[in-house]
């Protein structure tokens, strides 16, 4: 079973703003636990936090510096 890691709709306020991953706090293929802080997302000058929605193996799909929007899947957890 896999759980997608999605940029939550309420991570930042304005729907028309985009962000980007600053860094992944775990390597691709690392074990993560539900609730772990796994990535930082930058929107303008504000750094926001992305938590693991499930426990399992992290498979990163979007690298840092790529533009992301609310609702985008940036990784999956197997």
């Amino acid at each position: 079973m896999t759980t997608p890691v999605i940029i939550p709709a309420d991570l930042w306020d304005e729907d028309d703003k985009t962000g980007s991953i600053v860094l992944w706090l775990y390597a691709d293929g690392a074990k993560v636990k539900q609730g772990d802080l796994i990535a930082e997302v930058l929107v303008e000058k504000v750094t926001l936090e992305l938590e693991a929605p499930a426990t399992g193996i992290l498979r990163i799909q979007v690298e840092p510096e790529v533009v992301v929007q609310k609702g985008d899947t940036v990784a999956v957890i197997e």
Binding site: V22, L23, W24, A30, V32, L42
Partner: protein, 336 residues
């Protein structure tokens, strides 16, 4: 669970949080620390967690609040101060130079001044002559203060634990480009480390050999360590094996470690983003010449900030910074 990869900023925050949870002598102060959490987020969220008595936002009055911190330290507290950028030390230098650093000695050891001053250094992002300086030599020159300068997340956490457990005054420097805060750009990979969840200390006064090499030694501190690592990658393409040494701590300075490293190659490029004259790069060369210049096969070379105000213009600033291509060029000269 797998080891976590942290930025220097997050690693430092973890150390400070761990100590504050267990000790009520530590409190934070600085401009905007309550809401903003310090220039690199070292105190991020601490206002809400620890309250306004332990996380104090101050007016723009460095002499006042750092003087206050020194007084609190003498009375048994351990203040942690966020001074933002080192360009601002001019407005509180008397406290650093004459109060926080000298009281332990002048009281015959009766009065301790346990305080930790967090300061950001350096340029590279077009912030002009008054917000881009390193000035680490200007504080390392003061007798009575320890000055440390981690360049990666593992060392940042361990050295901040060490500073917070020290009985006297420590200046804890972080180059802005190494901190790993998002608004400064994507974190540099070599600043990120796997960082243990539990507390640990990294002792002051030991160089770190970042990369082993046999042909030439590249010495750096703060951001210039990462430029040395890039230069070493480039030199490897020509078959030149470069050793990269991170000073990590300016006071105490690991002179034995420097001698041992340089003796392995006999060729030395010292890099420093602080001004060339009267600084750390000269101190390293003086150490070698006083102790044993025969370890050198060639005269050493310094790649440092020229003695000029740092330009705002990007091409002009890039031209004066100790960047990897300049370091590699000088290393190649030593191999010729």
């Amino acid at each position: 669970m797998s080891a976590r990869i942290l930025t220097m900023s997050r690693a430092g925050r973890e150390a400070l949080d761990w100590e504050m949870e267990r000790r009520d002598d530590i409190f934070c102060l600085g401009e905007d620390v309550y809401k903003f959490g310090g220039i690199f987020g070292t105190m991020d969220g601490f206002g809400a967690k620890y309250g306004p008595e332990r996380v104090i936002s101050t007016p723009i009055s460095e002499t006042g609040f750092i003087g206050m911190a020194a007084g609190a330290a003498m009375e048994g507290m351990h203040p942690v101060i966020d001074l933002a950028y080192i360009d601002f030390i001019g407005v509180c230098y008397n406290v650093l130079l004459n109060t926080a650093s000298k009281t332990h000695y002048m009281s015959g050891g009766a009065v301790k001044v346990p305080m930790t001053l967090l300061i950001g250094t350096g340029g590279g992002y077009n912030n002009a002559a008054q917000h881009s300086q390193c000035l680490h030599a200007t504080v390392a020159h003061i007798p009575g203060v320890k000055v440390v300068y981690p360049s990666n997340a593992y060392d940042a956490k361990g050295m901040l634990h060490t500073a917070l457990r020290d009985d006297n005054f420590t200046i804890f420097l972080t180059h802005k480009a190494t901190a790993g805060v998002g608004w400064m750009g994507t974190p540099i990979k070599t600043t990120l480390s796997e960082v243990p969840l539990e507390d640990y200390t990294v002792p002051f006064g030991k160089v770190k050999i970042y990369r082993e090499g046999t042909d030439v030694t590249l010495i750096g501190l703060g951001m210039s360590v990462h430029e040395c690592l890039k230069a070493a990658d480039d030199l490897a393409k020509d078959g030149i094996s470069a050793q990269v040494v991170d000073l990590r701590s300016l006071v105490p300075l690991d002179r034995d470690g420097i001698m041992a490293a340089v003796a392995q190659t006999g060729r030395l490029v010292v890099t420093d983003e602080d001004y060339l004259s009267y600084g750390v790069s000269g101190e390293i060369l003086a150490t070698i010449f006083e102790r044993d210049p025969t370890i050198l096969k060639k005269p050493p070379i310094r790649v440092a900030m020229p003695d000029i105000p740092i330009p705002f213009s990007r091409p002009m600033e890039q031209a004066v910074l100790p960047l990897a291509e300049k370091i590699a060029k000088q290393a190649r000269k030593l191999m010729a």
